[in-house]
């Protein structure tokens, strides 16, 4: 496992991963988001039933783990970062920017068919 990176480092690497899909013309970027729980070792997942509800109300907020990876055969990249509970909002604001900028391959709008119906409606500022 690679060491978790700082947010800025994560975002810069993530945007280069998105850039690669653009320049290469193909590729896939995977992003995984999950709770970071140190205590849960693989064996503890099969503990007795009373303990399974303990995770619903943690004593204190837990950090999130964000992973990013690509499936390109030549340069397989893996990176991760840890988001502290208090940083969630700030992180996702930047995350949205990077994703919006990176996922430029998606369709802007279906103009061909609905040209007459939808003229305006720009929500993004």
């Amino acid at each position: 496992m690679t060491e978790p990176k700082s947010h800025d480092e994560f975002f810069s690497t993530l945007s280069t991963l998105f850039d690669k899909t653009r320049t290469h013309g193909s590729g896939t970027v995977y992003l995984v988001q999950k709770r970071l729980s140190y205590s849960n070792s693989p064996s503890s997942s099969s503990t007795s039933s009373p303990d399974t509800l303990a995770d619903l109300t943690p004593a204190q907020p837990l950090p999130l783990l964000i992973r990013a990876s690509t499936s390109q055969s030549k340069t397989k990249t893996k990176l991760s970062t840890i988001v502290q509970p208090e940083d969630i909002e700030d992180f996702f604001v930047k995350y949205a920017e990077v994703c919006r900028g990176g996922m430029s391959g998606l369709k802007k709008r279906e103009r061909r068919k609905k040209k007459g119906k939808k003229a305006g409606g720009e929500k993004k500022g």
């Binding site: 013309g25 992003l31 509970p85 996922m103």
Partner: protein, 178 residues
């Protein structure tokens, strides 16, 4: 091993709702995977060829002959790289899998916002949606107060029968007739 792909949910809103329920139930094991993939023109071409081969098989023989010239014309048009975005919430413990797929750029912002709201129960924080509704409730009483009198008069009207209803406004009478 029978691997049946779970169906995609119809709207991102539905995905968000279902996912937030899943995350509330299993905040430790549930994970959200976002997959952004760009298919190269080559891959799209292969995909199209494959789908054509399937459609040819399905068609009766007489129609298949007619369809052939059309198929040969189609590849000449330019194929633009095709991108798609898939969000998946999966819980290995319960086996629940919720997926949503889009090719629309406008959904990106919405989905990342959804990831942020889902991140809160994941981190063990209070749900932002609940906070929002709580905040809404503070503002709502005025609207509720305006709405409630009409609701409360309805049962009174039905209970009072014809005698009590006579004194009411014309609006109430009309409602009763409908």
């Amino acid at each position: 091993m029978p691997s049946v792909n779970p169906p995609y949910l119809a709207t991102s809103q539905e995905w968000l709702q279902q996912s937030s329920l899943l995350l509330k139930a299993r905040p430790t094991t549930a994970r959200i995977t976002t997959k952004y993939s760009v298919l190269s023109p080559k891959a799209i071409d292969a995909k199209i060829q494959k789908s054509r081969a399937i459609s040819k098989k399905r068609k009766p023989k007489s129609e298949g002959k007619e369809a052939e010239p059309e198929a040969s014309d189609a590849p000449t048009k330019e194929i633009v790289p095709e991108a798609s975005l898939i969000v998946k919430t999966y819980c290995p413990e319960s086996g629940v899998c919720l997926k949503y797929k889009t090719a629309n750029e406008r959904e990106v912002g919405r989905l990342v916002a959804a990831l942020a709201t889902l991140g809160r129960p994941m981190a063990g924080l209070e749900d932002m949606a609940e906070d929002a509704t709580k905040a809404m409730d503070i503002d709502v009483p005025e609207a509720k107060a305006a709405a409630e009198p009409t609701k409360t008069t309805k049962p009174a009207q039905s209970g009072g029968g014809g005698g009590g209803g006579g004194g009411g406004g014309g609006k109430k009478k009309k409602k009763g007739k409908k």
